[in-house]
Symmetry: C2
Subunit: 127 residues, 2 copies
């Protein structure tokens, strides 16, 4: 698979809430970086984070509005949508993925506004 | 100038706190988008915003860690640094610039964590 195919496949797995398949596309020493939070390093910690992150979502849709590929780097602008409780959480994201020679994601760095996520998550999970 | 030269020059003007020169590189109908805040549209509003934004800074340094160019789109990852009062505000940013056929910036979209900016700004401007 090309770097772009790897990233597209990865996003499909996320949307299918198939964490096992998504994690299988991550390098053993993946660095998963939600700027400005400290990087999550390694596939085990990555899987744990991904499960926690996707846990509350009953449905996930990531709308990629634009995507570029330069060598082994895939860059996209996305609207990440999560159906949580009775509503949708929508998060605009800029993502940078580095795919290694084995076709695995070695770096995944997302830029977004954290409060957009946490505020809406609070609204949707409030009892 | 190439799209990348335009963006590099623009950043140099920002670092020199030369708003006039920076604005001269903006298209008349520029869309300046600090995701997820509503876009600022048009050169007049853009200039006003830029002056307000740079106003408190005594010194500005934008460290571009990586930059890609695809056709007329320039994408970068940056650490935008502003010296305000006695300290530095540091903001990690993902930037997307679209340069039009006249060599002017038509779209500038930045993704970042707003609270990283506002919290540190509050600390540095507190009396």
């Amino acid at each position: 698979m090309s770097p772009e195919q790897v990233v597209n496949r990865f996003i499909e797995h996320i949307e299918a809430l198939d964490v096992d398949a998504a994690v299988a596309l991550a390098a053993a020493d993946i660095s998963y970086e939600n700027v400005p939070i400290d990087p999550i390093v390694g596939r085990v910690a990555f899987e744990q984070t991904l499960r926690g992150f996707l846990g509350p979502a009953r449905e996930v849709e990531w709308r990629v509005s634009r995507q570029w590929v330069v060598d082994r780097v895939v860059i996209n602008e996305r609207l990440d949508r999560f159906r949580i409780g009775d509503g949708w959480l929508e998060l605009p994201v800029a993502g940078f993925f580095e795919v290694d020679d084995d076709g695995l994601i070695a770096v995944w760095r997302d830029y977004f506004d954290l409060a957009t996520y946490t505020t809406r998550l609070g609204e949707l999970t409030r009892r």
